[in-house]
């Protein structure tokens, strides 16, 4: 197995962009990435695109060659990956395999989602289709409702409080306010977060990530060729794991087995453990998801994610900074772009190009990209 490096990155801001189509967004991120790596489209050997629901949100199918043509990639094989909110994490994992396995030297991976052109009830319905349609969704569950049931059970078992959940939102908004590409650059107080409009109790609007448009891209190269590029970042470990879709089919909804499995494999590949991780981008689709991810990744023991967050453990200048980009909560969550977007934000930190949100010690970073209510997870560990 060959070592693989990220040798370029590019992303659009995340937000509401009525004047930009799904193609405009994906091509903008791809072009920025190729420019960052100083690579011509003709040099790219294959294209992997993460996208959750382009056909539902904007009607366009056959998206990968559609975007590849827009980028001038011509005959390179182009394939779309769908794994709910982990779509571009899955695209990245498979692109990594193609280089690690020796098939290609240079592969472009992108993620894109164009969500905001639909009314909110339709967006809710499209997102819910990543749950179990015949069971929980038929009963009326939405994604906020699924994570609300996870939060309710977690609070019941571990004594976590609404304040613990709100502490995640306050932290991520504080970080996102420093990120020029974030969707909602707004500092919020604990009182505001607690008093948010109820969505699915115990979750309020401030516990939920944003509905965003956006795209992100990274260029992968065999590390033996990484010397040709400025500031390459090594992929130290990466793994993808799966679980059942329906919450009712899981023995314990306060932990995600797919996250634990992917983390175990990624740590083993990197020869590292939780204490070696300097910074992390975690999948805070809802505040409770970041708390559980901290525990499933081994950053803190079970039940301690909430108190640790409230005590500043994961703050920008805390012991282990989490979501220095603002996370899905403040940076935004264009579903199919999120996995690669997390990697772009880690690359910025590892290159010391993260501006106002740069942390002083950033040698090893971890990204955790969760699909749906945990049926897919991709964990990636990067190092400089």
């Amino acid at each position: 197995m060959r070592s693989v490096s990220i040798v370029g990155m590019g992303k659009t801001p995340f937000g509401v962009f009525p004047d930009q189509s799904i193609l405009d967004l994906a091509v903008a991120a791809g072009r920025k990435c190729l420019k960052d790596s100083n690579v011509a489209p003709s040099q790219v050997e294959a294209f992997y695109l993460g996208n959750f629901a382009g056909p539902s949100f904007v009607g366009q199918n056959h998206l990968a060659p559609y975007v590849a043509a827009g980028l001038g990639l011509h005959e390179a094989p182009a394939t779309r990956f769908e794994a709910a909110c982990a779509s571009s994490g899955a695209a990245f994992f498979h692109a990594w395999m193609a280089i690690a396995g020796g098939m290609y030297d240079l592969v472009l991976v992108a993620g894109v989602e164009k969500m905001t052109s639909q009314p909110l009830a339709r967006i809710t319905e499209i997102l819910a289709s990543a749950g179990d349609l015949g069971g929980e969704v038929k009963a009326g569950a939405t994604f906020p409702a699924l994570f609300a049931m996870i939060a309710r059970r977690y609070m019941h078992e571990f004594g976590a409080t609404r304040e613990h959940l709100a502490a995640v939102a306050v932290k991520n908004h504080a970080n996102g306010a420093k990120n020029p590409d974030a969707h909602l650059r707004k500092i919020i107080t604990l009182e505001q977060a607690l008093a948010g409009r109820p969505i699915a109790d115990p979750l309020t609007i401030y516990d939920c990530s944003l509905v965003s448009d956006g795209a992100a891209a990274v260029l992968l190269a065999a590390t033996e060729r990484a010397g040709e590029f400025r500031k390459p970042i090594r992929v130290l470990g990466v793994a993808q794991a799966s679980d059942r879709l329906a919450l009712a089919d899981k023995a314990d909804i306060t932990t995600f087995p797919a996250v634990r499995a992917a983390a175990r494999q990624a740590y083993a590949m990197a020869g590292a453990g939780p204490s070696d991780i300097d910074i992390a981008e975690l999948h805070d689709c809802f505040t409770i998801a970041e708390i559980i991810a901290m525990e499933d990744l081994g950053f803190v023991p079970r039940g301690e994610g909430g108190p640790a967050t409230a005590a500043g453990f994961s703050a920008l200048h805390g012991e282990k900074p989490i979501n220095t980009s603002g996370g899905l909560k403040s940076k935004g969550h264009p579903v199919g772009a999120t996995g690669v977007g997390q990697l772009c934000d880690l690359v910025l930190q590892l290159r010391c190009e993260a501006g106002e949100r740069q942390v002083p010690r950033a040698n090893v970073g971890l990204a955790q990209n969760l699909g749906g209510s945990g049926a897919t997870c991709v964990v990636t560990i990067l190092g400089r």
Partner: protein, 102 residues
Amino acid sequence: MTLHYCTGCGQAYVTPPASCRCGGSEFRAAEAAGRGQVYSCTTLHAAARAHEADLPFQIAIIELEEGARLTARIAGPPVAIGDAVRLAGEREGVHFFTAATT
């Protein structure tokens, strides 16, 4: 209500899955009491289009006495984790449960 038991390991399901956790794929149907308790729950204040007219409404993951879990609607007063519930009815494939004391 009808439950489906894996002929390999005995695990009960509300809807028989393509494969049981044990790998089995044969199921035996049997009637169940329709009683259980709330494993988790939430009251929704926003919903997909098909359910918007019902807002606000409560859904719950119910653990039946036979061990199967399902996600169901709650009819009547709100319930909390650990509450005993019983089947109140079924409409278009959705089970409705209600607090067992009412």
